[in-house]
């Protein structure tokens, strides 16, 4: 009797015994790594000596500002930058690389490009960015970027102290510049491994950010992979130079921006003040204002702390009619925005693109700033502002009645419902919705009420269901439309296009790249050419139906043509291109990549005959 209760217990124990013996440990394979990291991968936390270097490819692409490819595709999209290289050391225009949306200065030359903001600091060249997460945080010793086509675009590499894969919310996020340089142009478009000398930082990182500027390049730059080399143990002081004070132009700016009301001695009595500023008292107010207008924002904020007179000048709202906070995206916070509020009552152009990275700026900080300063706002740049939500757009629509330009490029976390509020901004002239989730109802509503629209960008707006209906609405309501970007709009047909060009006669720029449903056999391109005599820019990228008759019609009807892209058609011959180049003296950009009838010999011949035209012919070696 006393043995009975032990049987189940022993059975259980024996089962456990067998199960444990039979179990085989599996090794997970999260992330890409090279052989030196086997020990780490299998979960055995080996103690690595200081000198052992860890090499990693990127595990995941976390964020980026633009790309050439389609959403959900793996061709020419930013997601290709994670993982091992697919193309390097070959060079060429391959699908497996990461490609940004634009290159050169062609887009800046268009009428749809906004003028640059004043006070942009000299060292800030970045046009696009991509953020990569790696598996293991390390103290970086080297960053290598494998560029496989037209290299030279990288202008900044930054590291972040926050681990993007940790479950905890970001606190005390620091971004440190590992390297920065001028945009360059390498002589040949061949692949190269870019490995600049990076600064050594005091925190381990597994989040890198690359910022690029392709303005000097002759074609799209393409990146294949990024390697992060580093050590797991903090490098010893003796081996690496540790700066005593972390002085950099930007790192002080937040203190300056937040320190404005700050410690600042009053000069004794009034008599002291009158004579206290020396010759500055003799200068006219406007002259000092003019001098100050050349300072960058952090300098302006620092100057405000020097004396009462200059404080008065530096806080004058007339110094803040244009405000670009994009160069300071890493350090801008709700507090700094709050401190600037009092100076920005006459604000007309505001650039907050890229700010709000990892919670530094929140929707409440933004909303209160807009409520205080939005009244005279004319232009608002909010590209890649991931803190935005529907409430923010509602605030914008309420507080900025006179808004004429709104850029929400790559705000892909914005809920589709949020875009409805834009239709209240009836004075809008320029609207950029590239890579957003806007849906049919919202865009139709916007087109109904924003009839003054001149520049509209709906590139890669994949949630819009029927582009023909949208085109029809544009033709009916937005007759002053001057530039239209419909890059990758997947179901625009000849019907919609015909309505569009008959309604919007002022169109000068039209991007119909990668729109597969437009067939030249319907005559839609010829109709387009005849209807838009002022056409400056036409992109028919990867429309495989473009043929000689279309080119000839363009030659006959569009003498002002400046930019033309007919990548990937088999049907265009050298003869019709010659006709086009003869009839369009202002043509500066002609992209004939992957056009089977146009080989390098033809390109060279045309370049010789028409030296003012940049003829682009991409290759896959």
């Amino acid at each position: 009797m006393q043995l009975a209760p032990k049987f189940p217990m022993l059975t259980l124990l024996s089962m456990f015994y067998y199960i444990c013996l039979r179990r085989r440990s599996r090794s997970g394979t999260r992330g890409e790594a090279l052989t030196s990291r086997r020990a780490v991968e299998s979960g055995q936390r080996a103690v690595l000596p200081v000198s052992v270097e860890v090499e990693q490819y990127a595990k995941e692409v976390l964020d980026f500002s633009s790309h050439y490819g389609s959403e959900n595709s793996m061709s020419y999209t930013m997601w290709n930058l994670a993982g091992v290289p697919n193309v390097y050391p070959s060079s060429g225009d391959f699908t497996q690389t990461a490609v940004f949306r634009s290159y050169g200065t062609w887009w800046e030359k268009c009428a749809s490009a906004p003028p640059p903001f004043r006070r942009t600091p000299k060292g800030f060249y970045s046009q696009d960015y991509i953020e990569l997460g790696f598996e293991e945080p390390v103290y970086p010793t080297a960053v290598e970027v494998l560029e496989t086509y037209y290299p030279g675009a990288i202008v900044q590499i930054l590291a972040c102290s926050h681990n993007p894969f940790s479950q905890s919310p970001p606190t005390d996020v620091r971004w440190e510049v590992l390297w920065s340089g001028d945009p360059t142009k390498v002589l040949t478009p061949q692949a190269r491994q870019f490995s600049p000398n990076i600064k050594h930082i005091s925190f381990p990182t597994n989040l890198l950010r690359l910022e690029v500027n392709s303005s000097l390049l002759d074609y799209y730059t393409e990146l294949d992979a990024v390697i992060l080399r580093g050590v797991k143990e903090r490098p010893m002081l003796a081996l690496y130079k540790m700066p005593v004070i972390d002085i950099s132009d930007l790192s002080d700016s937040e203190e300056e921006l937040s320190d404005l009301g700050g410690p600042f001695r009053q000069g004794g009595d009034g008599k002291h003040q009158r004579t206290g500023n020396g010759y500055f008292d003799k200068l006219p107010y406007e002259l000092i204002q003019l001098i100050l207008s050349h300072l960058t924002l952090p300098d302006l904020c620092r100057l405000a702390q020097s004396c009462k007179l200059l404080y008065q000048h530096c806080c004058d709202p007339l110094q803040y009619t244009q405000l670009s906070l994009q160069p300071y995206w890493a350090r801008l916070s709700d507090a700094s925005l709050g401190h600037l509020q009092s100076r920005c009552t006459l604000l007309q152009r505001l650039n907050l693109s890229w700010t709000g990275n990892r919670g530094a700026l929140t929707q409440s900080g933004f909303s209160s700033f807009m409520k205080a300063c939005g009244l005279s706002l004319v232009c608002l740049e909010l590209s890649c502002c991931h803190f935005l939500n529907e409430a923010c757009l509602e605030v914008i629509s309420q507080t900025c009645p006179g808004l004429q330009e709104l850029n929400l490029s790559s705000c892909d976390r914005l809920h589709p419902q949020a875009f409805i509020h834009i239709s209240k901004l009836t004075r809008l002239r320029r609207l950029v919705l590239y890579r957003t989730k806007i849906e049919q109802t919202a865009i139709l509503s916007i087109l109904t009420f924003c009839i003054e629209l001149k520049h509209l960008n709906l590139g890669s707006c994949v949630r819009i269901e029927d582009y023909d209906v949208v085109a029809s609405m544009m033709a009916a309501r937005c007759r002053s439309l001057c530039s239209l970007d419909l890059w990758r709009c997947r179901n625009l047909t000849d019907r919609g296009l015909a309505e569009l060009v008959s309604g919007c006669r002022m169109l000068e720029e039209l991007d119909l790249g990668w729109c597969p449903t437009l067939q030249s056999s319907t005559g839609c391109f010829q109709h387009l050419a005849r209807s838009l005599p002022r056409l400056h820019k036409l992109f028919l990228t990867a429309n495989r139906t473009v043929c000689d008759s279309d080119i000839e019609e363009l030659a006959a009807s569009c003498p002002s043509l400046q930019h033309l892209d007919i990548l990937g058609t088999r049907l265009v011959s050298p003869a019709s291109l010659k006709k086009l180049l003869q009839s369009c003296p202002q043509l500066h950009l002609l992209d004939v990549s992957f056009c089977s009838q146009i080989d390098m010999r033809v390109v060279q011949e045309l370049c010789g005959l028409f030296p003012n035209v940049a003829i682009k012919k991409s290759f896959t070696q």
Partner: protein
């Protein structure tokens, strides 16, 4: 006391024995490929996994082993299009999809569909058509998921017998279902089947099962009994012996293809349809031979 312990062990063994039907080990496919292009002059291997106008791929992922074959339709050559470009790019794209984990193991049709639409995202204006057959082994669930579009296909052999096979999809004689990208304007004239008309199937596999995936160059020249005869010679699950067997199958099919008197399955089928022919069918031959084995890293 001792008897209690031994009793406990017996019970434990019995229970474990019963439980081990659900084998927790992961499976994998050990695969070898071999093939011959129809055109001797072009050389046997063009670039990696291409045999003439046929193409294939073998890819490993954490969760699955994936194989595929594609038979490029040769008629495009008459219009100046290289038929191997379409099949080769299709297979390479499938391989990339698998390696990057952009697939669901239970949906090989999904792999085909995604891969086909990726072809349309290529700047290069691809033209051509091909059949396709995708086989996915889900490591954990031990299930084989397949999708077949056209007249390529697979056999599953267990204990010397064919237990599963794919069905051919033909529109009419010698015109299989095919994925295609047509030149503009010719969309009406070119046969183009959508990826979702592929036949799919799923079934369990056991350790030691042999899976033969091949293009019609094999099946049209070698009947089942000859293939099974060759497979009997497979001794173990070593890669070398699988490679040897794959090679011998492919070589035999290649020889038979050029035998003018041999009554090949292709000739037999033609006779059944009223065409009086004999002999093998010269064609590109691609053979992927796999054995289900335990997963080792």
């Amino acid at each position: 006391m001792l008897s209690v312990l031994s009793y406990g062990r017996l019970v434990a063994r019995a229970v474990i024995g019963g439980l081990s039907q659900t084998d927790s080990r992961d499976y994998s496919l050990v695969t070898a490929s071999c093939g011959f292009g129809k055109d001797f002059r072009k050389g046997i291997l063009k670039k990696g996994m291409c045999y003439g106008d046929d193409a294939c791929f073998i890819a490993r992922h954490r969760s699955a082993d994936v194989l595929g074959v594609a038979d490029g339709v040769g008629g495009w050559r008459d219009y100046g299009v290289d038929p191997s470009q379409f099949s080769g790019t299709l297979m390479k794209t499938c391989e990339r999809l698998v390696k990057e984990g952009r697939f669901v193991p239970s949906s090989p049709v999904g792999v085909l569909t995604t891969s086909y639409y990726e072809l349309l995202q290529n700047k290069v204006p691809l033209l051509g058509s091909s059949t396709a057959c995708i086989v996915i082994l889900d490591r954990q669930s031990h299930r084989l998921h397949t999708a077949n579009l056209g007249d390529s296909g697979f056999l599953v052999v267990r204990g010397g017998e064919v237990v599963h096979r794919s069905d051919e999809q033909q529109h009419y004689f010698n015109t299989p279902f095919q994925l295609s990208i047509a030149p503009p304007g010719a969309e009406g004239a070119v046969l183009s089947d959508s990826p979702d008309v592929a036949d799919s199937s799923s079934f369990d596999v056991q350790l030691g099962d042999i899976i033969l995936t091949a293009t019609d160059g094999l099946f049209d020249n070698m009947p089942d009994y000859m293939i099974l005869q060759e497979l009997k010679k497979l001794k173990n699950t070593n890669y070398e012996s699988i490679q040897q067997t794959a090679r011998s199958i492919a070589e035999q099919a290649h020889v038979l293809a050029y035998d003018p008197n041999y009554m090949s399955p292709f000739a037999q089928f033609a006779c059944d349809n009223g065409l009086n022919v004999r002999g093998g069918k010269p064609d590109d031959i691609t053979v992927l031979l796999s054995i289900v084995a335990e997963y080792t890293d």
